[in-house]
């Protein structure tokens, strides 16, 4: 039997205790909830930031190793001409090469070994890891460190805008499924190669003169669809890129931040012919973006009966009023309209998402970086 002093909590006490506890718990819950939401918001923001950082770092790394690039319509795609390098000297007559990365080469397809200004061509018969077997011996000594890439060809005649095909000097360097660039235009999917006639997956958008270089691209980065929010996706692809399944997602949530393109380059065209010896060139409709110390290239690689004309690379020592002063004179004359391009790709990405964890909060980041070509 309970004694008077040993009775339990009264109902009122219980109610009060529960009420107080509820208040305490609710208070903590509010505090925890805020913390959880903040954590989710920050986590989301970090995620939004990480996506472009990782994706652009990948693209930038590959771009540095490239020798040339093309940017597709609207700045939504980027095609790179990548090179690998010899890991060992190759004596004259060598039928095997050791390269750093054979992924940019292909069995049965010709390659070129580049020594400063000259190219030697050979055809690959087999690739095993980093060892490349050639169908015939090399003609000259090649040194470790020299660049190796797929062989290129040139337009055999003018190619017209709207044409779905064109003729090249040498069709053996291309095959169905290749990505190619024709002069400044690309990346383009090759559907078929019949003799020296190359058929594309989509018609050419620009006209090109005979002799303009047609070069296989090693890799393409593309912002899918319209490259707009929501759900934009950047993919990477190396072959048969007309097939969506071959385009491997690199990052979700990436889009081009209007009005800037995902892939851009600072380029202009010569307003007037530049003779050999010109040390200052003026551009049409003076474009923004050319800055002192930028490295530029004047003209594109072109092939003619006398061999290849490489673009002239120079450094800008002064830029004003649409005219550029170069570090040294041009050695060839260039026609009005010749492309003058900063030898770098401008990458600009916008990552965007609506974070449901924090009530549909819009989270975004815009990242931009400029990557110079080093090969």
């Amino acid at each position: 039997m309970l004694r008077g002093r040993e009775t339990g909590l009264t109902f009122v006490e219980m109610v009060i205790a529960i009420a107080l506890m509820s208040l305490v718990i609710l208070t903590f819950y509010a505090v925890i909830g805020v913390a959880v939401r903040e954590w989710a918001a920050v986590e989301g923001q970090v995620e939004v930031q990480q996506q472009p950082r990782i994706a652009l770092a990948r693209i930038a790394g590959e771009t540095r190793q490239a020798r040339d690039f093309v940017i597709g319509a609207g700045g939504r795609s980027l095609g790179l001409v990548k090179a690998t390098v010899l890991l060992q000297d190759a004596a004259p007559g060598a039928t095997a090469l050791e390269v750093e990365d054979a992924s940019t080469l292909a069995p049965g397809m010709p390659l070129v070994i580049q020594s400063l200004t000259r190219l030697e061509r050979a055809t690959v018969t087999a690739i095993a890891g980093t060892s490349v077997t050639l169908s015939g011996g090399t003609a000259r000594l090649h040194r470790r460190g020299e660049a190796v890439r797929r062989a290129q060809t040139a337009l055999a005649g003018p190619a017209f805008a709207g044409s779905p095909s064109f003729a090249v000097d040498d069709g053996t360097v291309l095959r169905a499924g290749d990505l190619v660039a024709v002069g400044d235009e690309g990346p383009l999917d090759v559907l078929t190669v019949t003799g020296n006639v190359v058929a594309l997956g989509a018609p050419l958008a620009q006209a090109h003169p005979a002799g303009e270089v047609v070069q296989p691209l090693s890799v393409m980065f593309q912002c899918e669809g319209a490259c707009l929010d929501p759900g934009a996706q950047v993919t990477r692809c190396t072959t048969a890129c007309g097939t969506p399944a071959n385009r491997i997602p690199l990052a979700d949530l990436l889009a081009a931040p209007a009005p800037r393109p995902l892939f851009g380059a600072v380029a202009g065209t010569l307003a007037a012919p530049a003779p050999a010896g010109a040390i200052s060139v003026c551009l049409s409709n003076p474009p923004a973006g050319f800055q002192t110390e930028d490295r530029i290239r004047v003209g594109r690689e072109a092939h003619g009966p006398a061999g290849a004309d490489l673009p002239e690379r120079r450094r800008i020592v002064a830029a004003s009023g649409g005219c550029l002063t170069l570090d040294r004179g041009l050695v060839r004359g260039h026609a009005a309209g010749t492309v003058v391009r900063v030898d770098a790709v401008v990458l600009t990405a916008r990552a965007f998402r609506s974070n449901d964890a924090v009530g549909g909060q819009v989270q975004e980041v815009i990242v931009t970086t400029t990557v110079g070509l080093r090969n």
């Binding site: 002093r5 950082r53 660049a147 040294r328």
Partner: protein
Amino acid sequence: MAALRRGESGAALVTVLVLVVVLTVMGVAMVDLALTEVAVAFGQGDALAAQYIAEAGVARALHELDLNAQWAGVTDTLGDGQYEVSVASAGPVRTIRSTGTRGAGRQVLTAAVRIAPRFTLSTVVGNTTVAVGGPQSGLRLENTFPSAGARAVHANNRLGQATAIAVDPAGAVLIGGVTANGTIAGITCATWAWVCDPAAGLLRFPRLDMDSADPASYRSRARTTTDPIDGLNLYFRGGDPASRCMAAGWGFGPRQTQRCWDRYVHDRGGAIGALIATPVFYVEFNAAERTQYALSTLTITHRASRSASNGGGASTLLIARPAGVVLNDVMVASIAVRGGAGTGITPPVGWTLVPGGANPIDNGTGLRMAVYYKVATAVEPASYTWTFSSSQRASGGIQAYVNVDPADPIDTALGQATPSANNHSTPAVTTSLDGAMLVASFAVASASGGGNWAPQTPGLAERYDVASTGGPQNLRTASTGTDQLQAAGGATGVKTSRSNNAAPGAAHLLALVPRRITVDCLGLAAGAREALCLRSRPATDSNGVVLYASSVPVQVTGMIGTFRRAGASVAGDINLENLSARTADYAQQSITGDPALVAAGWIRVVSTGAAAFPRSVSVTGILYAFAGADNPGGGCVPPSTCGDDLLGSGAVGIDVRHGADLVGLTIGGWLMSNGAVTLLDAAANLGSVTVRYDAAAADVLPAAFTPGAVGNVLLPVSWSSND
């Protein structure tokens, strides 16, 4: 058991404990997440820092390699990070591997650069002076190699001339930098689009090892390399048993080195070297050997001689024409007169002072002797009169010869004053052909009457012996003319005659060229010595008969060199025969580590006239000319001195004066000359000269050209970082 006091009952502790546990778990989780984010942020920062540190490592390597081509690498700190740089060498290529680390970040960058000696990036490297362009347009000299270190022209100006580089812009399109160790004339540096620096200092001018005993010298290589078609070597020297010229079935003697070359080119149908690994065609003429070679030779004979004195002295000396002289006979006159250098001598019309050293010869104030020659015309006077600037005693004679080459009568000549004695000797000379007639003239400043002289050299025939008369014997002169046929070309030795009176004298020796059926080189002086002729038309004799129908080189793979060492000087030229006579295009390529053309003397392209058809002449590779001086010193004993730079030569090294219409001359590679360089288009026509830098020539460098520790240019080859 103690009773609960009022107020001490309930579950607060439990509740608090539960809350504490929950909050602790949540707190730990949040802190953990936060720490993860912090770690990610730091990791990102470290990775970025590592990238830049690795870039700094590459920049450090480029700087160090610029200072020292053998730099192997370093590990160094930068801020709170570090880079580890290693450099692997493969020939001229350096592969730089730079690993940057900071915290957890690590980045590896790999780049390859080529080390190129600075002089290998100039289209023209003159060790003395360079002249580019003339009044006629058609010359293009350029260096479009994509490097800021590339130059079109550099001149070391070793001999300190007032102008190091002279450009005539009216006749030259010049593309590229111009640098010199001296004045640059003809262009305005302030407005030049490329580098223009008259104070650029000296570039290395490494010497090639042409003829040492080292197996790697070019002569050694030519002797040990065989042409698989006939199993004979690539060494061309007439009369040398070690040369293919004396192999069975060839048998070309010491005066037929050029013929040996012509035969070889002919046998290969104009295409040489393609079947041979790194061929070196080494041509070594014999001393003073002529490019022109004889197919047959007539024998020179003495027709007649006459002599006279002016008795006790006069201001003239009259000598009758030797009997029987007819058209194209060659007469040699020797005139001795008192008074030494103070006595001027004026020859009769048509007589020419014999060229060569020391003529007239003066022996103090006592005696002067001068030797003249004349090719007889159809009508000759009955006598000839020499006139002196004052009245002096004089004596002399004329010797006439049959079957001397009237177009090129004198092969070589040399005179000297002789000390007071009875015996007087001429200097020795070296004849450049077989069947030369040696004419030795002697004079002495004293005479005892008629018959003063007696030849001492066996075989030396006396043709006249005459003396002035009157007064003391030691105020007279005595002269004698002698001759001797030399069957085989080469050194003559001295010729001696004895005078009755011992007195100061003079002696002179000349060699007359026999009339021959010859094969010549168009555009080259008739008496050209030790000059290889790269033919433009088939070897044809002076009667117009083609000797070797395919002796025009058309396709050449490898190096052609001419070189002969003679004490401190070296001899051997390369001449491209007048290009307007080209019967086919010419293409030479040598890009596997040897120059294309190397000459001990000059490399010369002098052409005029019009070609029948448009022709292309191209040489791809290095052109290298010693300009007659393999300085410093006369010998090259590898490895002690062969790596030394050449010091310059006052002679011409490379001489391109191309004026042949319709012929395009292209030299791709680079030009090096120890002497002066001249490049111009010599005529206003459709011919052109293009000299351009061709990196193919520099892909594999001659051993002597390999990069030194300093003075190099770094050329980016590739970038293959794994980023």
